[in-house]
Subunit: 289 residues, 2 copies
C-alpha cells in the first residue's frame, strides 16, 4: 500500500521520520480531519475508492477555502487486522487520484490497528503570493458569491438511505467535486472572507457572519436558479458538496464559474431572502442534515 | 476543550477552514501518527495528561530527528460520546504543555465520534537554514552518536505489566523526554543521517543502514555505560524513549550531551560489538518489544 500511495514519487524525506514539504511562500495552510467507518462513511454505500477520493477532497476543499493550492497530504490509516487488502488498496487509489487531480502528493503516513477503518488526513497547501483568506474579513457592502454546488450530496444521501444505489446525486454524495481552482481565483479577486460549505450553506455562512461581525443575506431564489431541481431545504442545509462561499467587495467582477447569491450588511447572523424564505435568527438555526 | 487547547493564542487562521503556519525557511517538515486507546495507550496505566504529553512528544521527536524545530501541531480527536470531560481535558492539557515545552502551538483540529479514544497528531517543524537530515546520508567512516536515553521506557512498560505503578522507569514510559534540542544541534554539526529511536536502537539503525547503503556497528558496551542499570536486551530493543541517533563525519566533535556509540562502515545491516554481542544479520533481527 505504501508503494501504491507513493505514486507519483514523493518529495525528499518521505519514508523518513518526517517528510520535507516545500513552502515557497513562507507560509503553508494546514488542516486535518478524522474519518471513521460507520460514522463518516459506509462501505456498503461507497466504494473504498470513493472513500479515498472524498477523504482527500474534503481536506483539499478546506485548503482551497483559504485561497491556497493543495500541495501535500499526510495519512494516518487505522485498520482492523482482517481488513481486506482490496479495501485498503481502493482507499489508497482514491487518495492518490484526488491528489493527482489537484497536483498534491502523499508525503507521509502511519498505519496502525483499529477496530473500525479510520482515516486521519492532514492536507497542506501553498497560498502563493496571496494572503490566506479567513472567515473574518467580510464587510458591509460586500457581495456573497458561490462556487460549486449545494444540496446534491445531501439529496444523494437521502436517496442512499431510501435504497437507491446509482445516479448522479448518489455519485455526488459518494465523490464530491469541490471547485478547487475557485479558491485561489477568489483570493486573487480580492475575497474578504471565504468558507468551505461542509455543514450546509446557512450554517457555514453563520460562521462567516460571526467571525466577521456582519449580517449575511442569502438569496434563496438565486440559489434555486443554480439548482432548480433540488428542494430548498437541501439547498440551505445540505453539506458535503464542498462548495466555496466567499465575500467580495462591491463592484468586483465574480470570477468565472462563480455566482452572486447574496450580500453583506451591518448586523448579525444570516437572513434568508426570497420566495418562502423566513428570517433565520442568529441563534435559532438548526440545520436538517 | 478547544479553548483549553488554544492557549497560547494560535496563529491566524485557526478555527478557520485551515490554519496558516509560518514557514520562514521555504520548507516545513511534517509527520503524522495515529494513536488509539487500548492499542497505543492505556488509561489505567497512564493519565490522560501523560497520554497527551507522549502523543505530542513522539511526533515532535520525529520533527527533531530531521534536524528541525517543532512549530505546530494539528489534532484529530476521536472520542466516544460518554468520554469523561476530565479525560479529554487532561489529554488537551498534556498536548498543550508539550507544545509549550518545545515552543509549538496547536493550530487546528477536528473532533469526531469514535468507539475508542483516538488521537491523530500531525506535527510540523521549521528546519531553519539547515537542510533536513534524512536516514539516507550515512557514509563509511562516520561515527554513530546518541542523544537521549534508550531502554528506560521499555523497562517501565515491563514494570507496568508486572503491576508496578510508580517510579522513574514507569514515568519514563508514561512521559518520554526526547532530546529535542539535540536534533537541530546534530544537524548544525553536520549530521549525515539521523533517526528517532521509536522501535529500538537496533531496529531503527537498520533503517538507517538500509537507506544509506552502509553497515552500522553499534558498541553495546558504550550503550551500557550510558545506562548501566538496564538489561542489554532493553537497551538494544526498547523503543519509545525517543532518543536520537545520528551519524557524524569522523573528527566532528559530538555536540554537548551526545555520546559516541558506534561507527559506520561499508557493508549492510547492523553489527553489534562488545561483551556478549553477537552478530546481527541484516535480515535476521527480531526485536524483543
Amino acid at each position: 500500500m505504501t508503494q501504491r500511495i507513493g505514486t507519483p514519487p514523493p518529495p525528499a524525506g518521505s519514508g523518513d521520520d518526517a517528510a520535507v514539504v516545500p513552502a515557497p511562500s513562507s507560509a503553508l495552510v494546514a488542516t486535518t480531519d478524522l474519518l471513521v467507518e460507520g460514522v463518516h462513511f459506509r462501505l456498503d454505500w461507497s466504494s473504498p475508492y470513493d472513500v479515498g477520493r472524498k477523504a482527500a477532497a474534503q481536506n483539499f476543499a478546506d485548503v482551497a477555502a483559504m485561497g491556497a493550492r493543495p500541495t501535500a497530504l499526510l495519512l494516518g490509516l487505522g485498520c482492523p487486522p482482517d481488513a481486506p487488502l482490496a479495501v485498503l488498496d481502493g482507499i489508497a487509489d482514491g487518495l492518490r487520484d484526488e491528489c493527482a487531480l489537484v497536483g498534491a502528493v502523499v508525503v507521509g503516513g502511519d498505519v496502525v490497528r483499529t477496530d473500525a477503518i479510520t482515516l486521519a488526513i492532514t492536507a497542506l497547501g501553498d497560498p502563493g503570493e496571496l494572503t490566506p483568506v479567513t472567515r473574518a474579513g467580510a464587510r458591509p457592502g460586500d457581495v456573497l458569491v458561490l462556487a460549486g454546488t449545494v444540496g446534491r450530496s445531501a439529496d444523494g444521501l437521502e436517496l442512499l438511505r431510501r435504497g437507491v444505489r446509482a445516479g448522479p446525486l448518489v455519485d455526488a454524495h459518494r465523490r464530491p467535486s469541490p471547485p478547487y481552482a475557485a479558491g485561489p481565483a477568489l483570493a486573487a479577486a480580492g475575497a474578504t472572507a471565504m468558507i468551505d460549505i461542509s455543514d450546509g450553506i446557512v450554517a457555514d455562512l453563520r460562521h462567516v457572519a460571526a467571525a466577521s461581525g456582519v449580517r449575511i443575506t442569502l438569496d434563496v431564489d438565486a440559489l434555486a436558479v443554480l439548482e432548480p431541481s433540488l428542494e430548498r431545504r437541501l439547498l440551505l442545509a445540505g453539506g458535503e458538496d464542498h462548495a466555496l462561499a466567499a465575500t467580495l467587495p462591491a463592484g468586483t467582477p465574480p470570477p468565472p464559474g462563480t455566482a452572486v447569491v447574496g450580500s453583506v450588511e451591518a448586523g448579525v447572523g444570516v437572513l434568508l431572502r426570497g420566495e418562502g424564505a423566513s428570517e433565520c435568527a442568529p441563534s435559532g438555526w438548526d440545520h436538517f442534515g
